[in-house]
């Protein structure tokens, strides 16, 4: 992990759609919030475009706390994307 890196995690059907459970990448230029990151991921290709399509219910956690579209993202953060939870 470099100082600029972001650790991304994907769970459940989101993991299946993007074809990976985790990855580390350099924080993209201009990506300061969850909403910006979602938009950036959507531009990456088929699986990502489908997983992050508008209207698809995707939840997010930043550093293991539930996050919203406006939650800030910084280098070194752990950001997870997943469907609405269905435990219990």
């Amino acid at each position: 992990m470099s100082a600029r890196s972001l650790h991304l995690l994907y769970f459940a059907w989101l993991r299946e759609r993007v074809g990976r459970s985790e990855e580390t990448l350099d924080l993209p230029e201009g990506v300061a919030t969850v909403a910006f990151l979602t938009e950036w991921l959507r531009g990456r290709g088929d699986g990502f475009a489908a997983a992050f399509a508008p209207g698809v219910p995707v939840r997010c956690a930043v550093n293991q706390e539930f996050a919203g579209p406006d939650t800030p993202i910084a280098a070194g953060d752990e950001v997870a994307f997943f469907p609405p939870v269905t435990g219990g």
Binding site: L9, F11, A12, A61, F82, P83, P84, G88
Partner: protein, 152 residues
């Protein structure tokens, strides 16, 4: 102090009750909820259920939910256990125990704990049907409504 655990193996209900109440005479009642795998979904038979979770965040979320219950009721202890991996119909999935001096707090806290566990802890269920197809379980509006009763 709450006892929180995520595990693949079955939990021992009697053992957990004993651990929660050991050496204590101030407890007046223990509320208990055990969730089990139902053998059908939307009228279709189910052969297995696989539970995935977010290691690390799950334990933190469960501890936060337990802390929330402890701040709302005078609990003398509580236990939250959730299984992961492949489970079959009839198998226990989740255990909630809440101990209090009086039954209303124990029962209310138990209901609160399972309502919030279902909507605020990062677990996901995938069902496998008798014909071999699989489907991720969708979140239910009823669960959100049940959890929302405790807000405000």
């Amino acid at each position: 102090m709450a006892r929180v655990r995520v595990q693949t193996e079955a939990f021992d209900l009697g053992g957990e009750f004993a651990a929660l109440t050991a050496g204590r005479t101030d407890i007046g009642g223990v509320g208990c909820f055990v969730g089990t795998v139902r053998d059908s979904a939307d009228g279709r038979p189910i052969t297995a259920m696989t539970l995935e979770h977010y290691p690390g965040m799950t334990e933190r979320a469960m501890a936060a939910i337990a802390a929330q219950a402890e701040s709302r009721w005078d609990l003398l202890g509580c236990t939250l256990m959730h299984r992961i991996g492949e489970l079959h119909p009839g198998a226990p999935i989740v255990l909630v125990l809440a101990a209090a001096a009086h039954r209303q707090a124990a029962l209310d806290a138990t209901e609160f704990l399972i309502d919030w566990l279902k909507t605020r802890a990062p677990f996901w269920k995938k069902e496998r049907f008798a014909d071999g197809t699989e489907k991720w379980v969708a979140a239910r509006t009823e669960d959100d409504q049940a959890a929302a009763r405790w807000t405000g």
